[in-house]
Amino acid sequence: MAPFPISIFMVRDHSMEPALKPGDYVVANRWFRRISAGDIIVFKHQEKEMLLVKRVGSIDRGRVFALGDNKEASQDSRSFGEIKRENIIGKVIGVA
């Protein structure tokens, strides 16, 4: 478990527009208990050293299918597959 429950991240890129725009800040709860379809999550890319922010499309047996809101400009679970639970950093609880 993360030592501190709340983290703030700065958003880059466009695939979560209009909900999140480049330069927005997201506040994430790292001690979240459960996530549901429609939640926005921060997670580690499976292969690259980068963090991503996407919206949960569906959950099946603990594996999350995440999509960008701006689907025409998004690389997401459609291209890199489902996200493992251990790769999820936090659930977004606020945007500024």
Partner: protein, 170 residues
């Protein structure tokens, strides 16, 4: 919470604490790159110039609406495919190329492809299209070399341009 005040406060904190970046990514390198599309588009530009040259032999476009119609269509397709060459090459250069694979010669080649594609739009000379095609084939050779894939140059099968194309030996 999405207010200007909250953002200003967090922004001020960010300047001190340097929050991590999360990508709402639209350009995760998927690893799927291929210069083939650019090569085919360059052949199309050449073919359009060849068709235009044929059309203009002994024909007065002003006197023949069918010829004028054909000319407009050839030019439109040439324009689209020259732009497609630029797009495809830019994507490979911008997203795939890395400092260890692209040297000054590669950057020069990409720059020259952009210029050659523009020239191929501006005129209807077969030579301009041939120049563009030659540069795009050089780019394809560079691309496959970065992947340690051998290439072979051969006439593009069935293409009426009868011009060479670089193919990966797989």
């Amino acid at each position: 919470m999405k207010t200007g005040i909250a953002k200003r406060i967090i922004g001020a904190l960010d300047r001190v604490l340097h929050f991590e970046v999360v990508h709402a990514h639209c350009d995760i390198p998927c690893g799927i790159y291929d210069p083939h599309q650019a090569q085919v588009a360059a052949h199309t530009v050449l073919r359009m110039d060849m068709l235009i040259a044929d059309l203009m032999k002994g024909v007065s476009p002003a006197a023949d609406s069918n010829s004028r119609n054909k000319l407009v269509r050839y030019v439109a397709v040439k324009e689209q495919h020259a732009e497609l060459v630029k797009h495809e090459v830019r994507v490979i250069w911008g997203d795939y190329a890395k400092p260890e694979t692209a040297d000054a010669k590669t950057h020069e080649l990409v720059w020259s492809i952009m210029k050659a594609a523009s020239k191929a739009k501006q005129d209807t000379d077969v030579e301009s299209a041939m120049d563009l095609l030659a540069k795009v084939e050089q780019f394809a050779e560079w691309f496959w070399k970065t992947k340690n894939v051998q290439v072979v140059r051969a006439k593009a099968p069935g293409f009426p341009t009868e011009a060479e194309m670089v193919f990966p030996k797989v």
